[in-house]
Symmetry: C2
Subunit: 163 residues, 2 copies
C-alpha cells in the first residue's frame, strides 16, 4: 500500500464500521420498536433509519456512480419532518434498501484511485471547484460518515433506555 | 498540494468543522442549561461536554504530542457515569480547556507529514502495528471526529427542544 492508499484505506474502514454499526442497530428493531421515538417528542427510529438510507442512496449520483435507486425515500425521510407525511415503507423495506445501497457504494468505492477520490463531487460546479478543490469525493465520504455517527448517537439514546 | 496532502487536508477540515460545531453549541450554554439532561434520564450536557473535552485531552499522548494536560477530567467524565461523582468543574472551566486542547491539537496536526500520520498511535504495540498498520494516527483522527459527531447529535436533541 502506498501512503495515499493507506489514507483512503483508513477512511473506508471508518465508513464501513459506521455503516455496520447503524445497520446492526436499526436492522434488529421490531416494527413496533421502529415506531418509537428516540426521546420524547423527537424523531422516530424509522425516520432516522429512513433518513440515513435516503442519504446513502443520494450518495450514488453525488459521487458519480449513476442515478439514484430510491428517490422516493426523500419525501418521507428528508424533505419533510417526521410524522408529517405517511410512512408507507416498513423496516424490512429499509433493511433491504440499506443493504443494497451500502453494497453498491462499497463496490464503487474500492474501484476509485486516489486521483478519483480528489475529483469534484456532483453538487459543485467546475468553477467553484477550481477555487475550492476540497469539495471533492473524499470530503463527501468523511462528512457523510460523520452524518451517520451523528444520528447513531441519537438512536443509541433510545437503545440504552431499553436495557 | 500533493494527492496525499489533499486527503489530509480534507480530514483536518472535517475535524475542525466538527470541533467548531461542538464548541459553539456547548460554549454558549448557561450554567443552568449545562445541568439539564439531553433527554429525560440521559446524560447532562455538562457530562457530554466534559467527556468530549477529556477525549480531546487524551488525544495529546495518543498521537505522541506530549503528556496530558487535564487527566483529572477522566474521573468525572469518562471512567464514571454521569451523576455518580461530583462534577466540580464549571462550564467556564470546560470552555477554557476545550479551547486549549483544540488549539494544541491543531498546532501539532499541521506539523505532521503524511508519513507521520501513518505512524502507529500510542495505544498499539510495535508488534500489533506490524500486523495491523491501519492502527495509525490518521485512523485515530477519523474515529475521534466521528466520536464528537456522535455526541453532538445527542446534544442537538436537547438544543432543538429549546426553540
Amino acid at each position: 500500500m502506498t501512503l495515499e492508499t493507506s489514507l483512503i484505506d483508513s477512511a473506508l474502514r471508518n465508513w464501513q464500521a459506521t455503516i455496520d454499526r447503524a445497520g446492526k442497530l436499526f436492522g434488529k428493531l421490531s416494527p413496533e420498536q421502529l415506531l418509537e421515538e428516540v426521546a420524547p417528542g423527537k424523531n422516530r427510529l424509522i425516520y432516522l433509519w429512513g433518513h440515513l438510507t435516503a442519504f446513502n442512496d443520494a450518495l450514488i449520483p453525488l459521487l458519480g456512480f449513476g442515478p439514484r435507486i430510491h428517490p422516493e425515500l426523500d419525501l418521507m425521510f428528508v424533505s419533510n419532518p417526521d410524522r408529517t407525511v405517511p410512512t408507507i415503507l416498513l423496516g424490512e423495506d429499509l433493511k433491504t434498501i440499506w443493504q443494497e445501497t451500502s453494497q453498491l457504494l462499497w463496490t464503487e468505492f474500492v474501484k476509485l484511485s486516489v486521483a478519483d477520490w480528489l475529483q469534484k463531487h456532483g453538487a459543485v460546479s467546475e468553477e467553484d471547484f477550481l477555487r475550492e478543490p476540497h469539495r471533492n469525493r473524499f470530503t463527501v465520504l468523511l462528512g457523510r460518515t460523520g452524518h451517520i455517527a451523528y444520528h447513531l448517537g441519537q438512536a443509541k439514546l433510545w437503545e440504552r433506555a431499553q436495557t
